[in-house]
């Protein structure tokens, strides 16, 4: 468990970015989850959920817009991400359980949730399992797809070759001794750019300054090196789609239109037949996977309107 970083490296700033004003820990059955908040603590709670390989700090521009509108905005780092514990085990169900631990630590009441990418899939599962726990749900490029992109969560990767099976096992064998590659903040930002080519260099540099830690030999992303893309598992996307149809929590889905490495690949048209009653989809033209980072004001206004 590392201490949460109170602020970014003081030489890196980004227009509109504000670090959370409060940090605390939630114990999820022995795994310490780093929780952070923006906005007055007496305001009604609103939860933000990040995607795979991300961390709560990716909301540093988006969250303050919601906090300014009168919400107590709460986000957390998933296990193995950001400042949360690097765990021995990772699974989809464990992530959903950790999410519920965080919600339970704040309030027993139904709460609104905004979730991005893999976080969206996780929170759909929570909404379907405990429909009275969530008042409204916004999913930003994280709805299931009949034809999932290679970067959907590991547990949905049913097609695999002997080569990627062996590569996954090789990674597990070395996980105990793996370290992330050190570098300057600029180098970390450049590496991240390969995954997120649409995000600006300035934003990625800021992200590196809050998502990496400084070791003696350079900066490293805090993300647990045991976590890697390219897993596999038995889950089928059509199971998620069938469940989606019957979900009762009011749903707003935002979808990207430009394919990206980390994108969810949601096919807007193909998804429409599976939307729950009253569910609404909004497609963002010429926009990639990080809709709330490309258009923070527009997304915030749309969300605030939906939550009103």
């Amino acid at each position: 468990m590392t201490s949460p970083v109170a602020g970014p490296a003081d030489f890196v700033t980004f227009p509109g970015a504000v670090r959370p004003t409060r940090h605390h820990w939630v114990d999820s059955y022995g795994v310490h989850i780093a929780v952070c908040e923006w906005g007055a603590s007496e305001n009604p709670p609103l939860f933000l959920v990040h995607g795979g390989s991300d961390f709560a700090g990716t909301f540093d521009v988006f969250a303050p817009l919601l906090a300014a509108a009168g919400w107590r905005v709460i986000a957390w780092d998933h296990r193995g991400h950001g400042d949360s514990d690097h765990a021995a085990l990772y699974s989809w169900d464990a992530d959903v359980r950790d999410a519920l631990s965080v919600l339970d630590a704040i309030t027993p009441d139904p709460v609104p949730v905004i979730a991005h990418s893999k976080g969206g899939g996780m929170m759909l599962q929570l909404a379907e399992t405990l429909p009275l726990r969530m008042s409204k749900l916004v999913v930003i490029d994280g709805l299931p797809s009949p034809d999932p992109h290679p970067d959907v969560s590991d547990h949905e990767q049913r097609r695999f070759s002997s080569k990627n099976l062996a590569a996954w096992l090789d990674h597990r064998r070395n996980a105990a001794a793996n370290f992330r590659k050190p570098g300057t903040l600029e180098e970390l930002a450049k590496r991240r750019k390969r995954m997120n080519p649409r995000l600006s260099d300035e934003w990625l540099l800021y992200l590196a300054s809050i998502g990496a830690r400084k070791d003696a030999d350079g900066w490293r992303w805090k993300l647990d090196p045991a976590i890697r893309f390219g897993g596999f598992g038995p889950w089928r996307p059509d199971w998620s789609l069938e469940r989606l149809k019957t979900m009762t929590v009011p749903l707003l889905g935002l979808t990207a239109t430009v394919e990206e490495e980390m994108g969810w690949g949601t096919n807007h048209k193909a998804l429409e037949p599976y939307l729950p009653p009253g569910g609404r989809l909004v497609s963002f033209e010429n926009t990639g996977h990080f809709i709330h980072i490309e258009h923070p004001r527009r997304v915030a206004d749309m969300v605030l309107d939906f939550l009103a």
Binding site: Y29, G30, L89, S91, R97, A166, R172, A175
Partner: protein, 216 residues
């Protein structure tokens, strides 16, 4: 003798039940069980060395905090054991049978035949999701880890996913059969596996003879 093998943050207990020369046999226990303390009678006929692995959260292996068990991670446990033992025939009971199948597909060059036996955790959570649940278990530090019991008895095993491992084992191991189904239970995934090319239903004694003499 017991040695500990690192798998991410977990220290896995790998027990040597019988030293010696000849082919190696690796035993994988069932859900909630741990490795036997001595060579079980039904494996006495094996002509070589015999090892037994305690899965994560079982026996003398680490109990991690906060759960997160998947069958795929336990396949990584078995792979960590094979790193120490070298090529081996893998015999699993219940959950261990399912893991034996996965690792036979994942490391066909190291698994000299997989033997699938009855035992707790054989069926898993079936081949499709049932009622939704969020399973939290109060933490404790002794084995078997209650998270392991809950999560590994509910993991899904759809036949088309599972048979892929059998196909890869048959294709890349050079063995025929590559997988021996020796138990009586046939959950859906095992029915599908038993019908896959390169898989044969046979008695345990016959399977041990076949794999002890196998030289791909």
């Amino acid at each position: 003798m017991t040695v500990f093998v690192a798998h991410n943050q977990v220290k896995l207990a790998l027990h040597t039940l019988r030293e010696g020369d000849g082919p190696s046999l690796l035993l994988l226990h069932a859900l909630g069980e741990h490795s036997p303390g001595a060579v079980p009678a039904e494996f006495e006929a094996w002509p070589g060395r015999i090892f037994a692995l305690d899965f994560t959260g079982h026996g003398a292996s680490t109990v991690p905090g906060g759960g997160g068990y998947t069958a795929e991670v336990l396949m990584g446990d078995a792979d960590s054991a094979l790193w120490m033992t070298g090529p081996a025939t893998v015999a699993g009971r219940g959950l261990g049978a399912y893991i034996a199948l996965l690792i036979a597909g994942g490391r066909p060059e190291l698994v000299r035949g997989a033997i699938l036996l009855d035992g707790p955790g054989l069926a898993g959570g079936g081949d499709r999701p049932g009622p939704l649940n969020i399973r939290g278990v109060p933490g404790r530090s002794t084995t078997p880890d209650p998270f392991a019991l809950v999560e590994l008895s509910s993991d899904l095993r759809p036949p088309d996913y599972v048979t892929r491992f059998a196909e890869l084992a048959a294709l890349n191991s050079g063995l025929d059969p590559a997988i021996a189904v020796c138990g009586k239970s046939r959950p859906d995934w095992l029915k599908a596996v038993a019908a896959t090319e390169g898989v044969r239903e046979m008695g345990l004694a016959e399977a041990l003879r076949a794999f002890a003499g196998a030289r791909p």
